[in-house]
Amino acid sequence: MFLGIDTSLGTSVAVVEDDGVIVAEASSENPLGHAEVIGDLLARVVAESSAPLTHVAAGMGPGPFTGLRVGIAAARAFALGRGLPVVPVVSHDAVALGVLLRSALVDGLDSDSARFAVVTDARRREFAYSVYDGLDDDGLPVREVGPALVPRDDLDRVLADLDVPRLDAASVPATMVALMGARSVAAGREVAASEPLYLRAPDVTVGGARKRVGS
């Protein structure tokens, strides 16, 4: 039984069984307010899950840092409280898994083609993108490129060069984060590093010469 948590866009939490059957799901689409809503959402899905949890799957981004950290901190703390392992997941992979499992229903994606790019807002006039090519034998999406950052104006040219349709994700479903976790554990594979996917160094300038105050 996997608890999935993702705050790379909105806030989403879910509990799924090892085979992907959804037990409980609760989300907020609000791109802000992660710290406000995470507690109530967690309490709700935990209350709806009778069988004991075995793992916590955490969406590691990419995503706006401040919100992203809330979910990772929550995943680690929840796991610590119950003595469970944390299974890190690339948030774009979870979006891709969801797309591939119901590809025919998604607008703008040719259901015959499994290649596409997941695109999310990375702020500061940049997008984060990852390119996928179908599912592998373990039922996990095959990531060809990314996650990487690209200036907003360059995205369409980059995707044209890669010859993949663009799929803008407005949310990252925690059900798919949890299922990514379940499938990766079943396959005995690590699908993400345990550190957040910031993709950017902290935006600071190392102090140089001091500024004059007088004229």
Binding site: D40, F65, R82, G207, V213
Partner: protein, 349 residues
């Protein structure tokens, strides 16, 4: 000695603090600081602090539990700083605290960081001597506040606060002017040891008679910082050596003077012969010495918690929550957020 067993999480600035208390008894006070990393930038960078909190939280909680020889299941409650502080840094602690409380099925208390600084005093050995009302002067790199505390869990009033830089920030900025490394407090102290505090008369912010109407208990350090920088520039422009020791000592004296003068003025005007000091800048020996000497002359008793409890820490957050629990307060609902400007009157959110 008994009381509720509480784990407190503090992430409002650049220290990840995890503390565990049983009532008024301190069991552990674990602090991981990103100061070394911040030193590269010459000040606290919020994004650097927030990243460090996320990495430090879990190991710090584990270390605190081990030191206190308790398990998470033993806890009666989890406590966390809701504000004031750096929003992105606070959110890491809030997210973790909520998830930990839900995971454990334990009550959660979200509390005010500044009132936590006052609560630190009840963890000292002679806590029975803490009497109310008391004036509290809280000075750090993140805040400079003067409070009137009538009751720790129900009645704290903000008398005044800085209108620009915190006192600790002023130390950092002046250290930079003098070519000294970060953090500035200990560096200025070291440089000032050989200096004459009366060598240069730097301005005392918001201390003129005209300031006494609206800003009697408020502080301002940005004008002082600029005055020091201008003084140093004029020396340099004239090709004269900068007497670093005298500048450091005179600057420090200006900060200490205005802090102590306003704190004792608050004691006098409110008829409260008690002053509690808190915050990381209390580590400054000159501030403590001047406060003790002038308070004694004014008939004011001064309390200073151990320095490990003056700097930002999780034990003070746990201690405040334990007091709230003992006073019969209900836990916080899970819907609170990180409030970077949480007013001091909101002791629990």
């Amino acid at each position: 000695m008994s009381g509720p067993l509480v784990l407190g999480i503090e992430t409002s600035c650049d220290e990840t603090g995890i503390g565990i208390v049983r009532g008024r008894q301190l069991l552990s006070n674990t602090i991981a600081s990103s100061m070394d990393e911040q030193a590269r930038y010459g000040g606290v960078v919020p994004e650097v602090a927030a990243r460090a909190h996320l990495e430090a939280l879990q190991p710090s909680i584990e270390a605190a539990l081990a030191e206190a020889s308790v398990t998470l299941d033993d806890l009666d409650a989890v406590a966390v700083t809701s504000g004031p502080g750096l929003a992105g840094a606070l959110m890491v602690g809030v997210g973790a605290a909520k998830a930990l409380a839900v995971s454990l099925g334990k009550p959660l208390y979200a509390v005010n960081h500044l009132v936590g600084h006052i609560a630190a005093d009840i963890l000292t050995e002679d806590a029975d001597r803490l009497e109310y009302p008391t004036v509290a002067l809280l000075v750090s790199g993140g805040h400079t506040s003067l409070l009137l505390v009538r009751d720790l869990t129900s009645d704290v009033e903000l008398l005044g606060e800085t209108v620009d830089d915190a006192a600790g920030e002023a130390f950092d900025k002046v250290a930079r002017v003098l070519g000294l490394p970060y953090p500035g407090g200990p560096e200025i102290d070291r440089a000032a040891a050989e200096g004459d505090p009366l060598a240069i008369r730097f301005p005392r912010g918001l201390s003129r008679a005209s300031d006494m109407v609206e800003h009697r208990y408020d502080f301002s350090f940005s004008g002082l910082k600029t005055a020091v920088a201008r003084w140093v520039e004029q020396r340099e422009d004239a090709g004269e050596p900068v007497p670093v020791a005298d500048v450091a000592a005179s600057f420090r004296e200006a900060v200490v003077d205005v802090l102590v003068t306003k704190a004792l003025d608050a004691c006098a005007r409110h008829g409260v012969p008690r002053l509690l000091l808190g915050g990381g800048v209390i580590a400054n020996r000159r501030l403590r010495d001047v406060a003790l000497a002038r308070a004694k002359a004014a008939g004011v008793t001064v309390r200073i918690p151990p320095l490990s409890l003056c700097t930002d820490n999780g034990a003070m957050i746990a201690a405040l929550a334990a007091e709230l629990i003992s006073a019969g307060r209900e836990p916080s609902t899970l819907a609170f957020g990180a409030d970077s400007t949480l007013p001091v009157t909101e002791i629990q959110v």
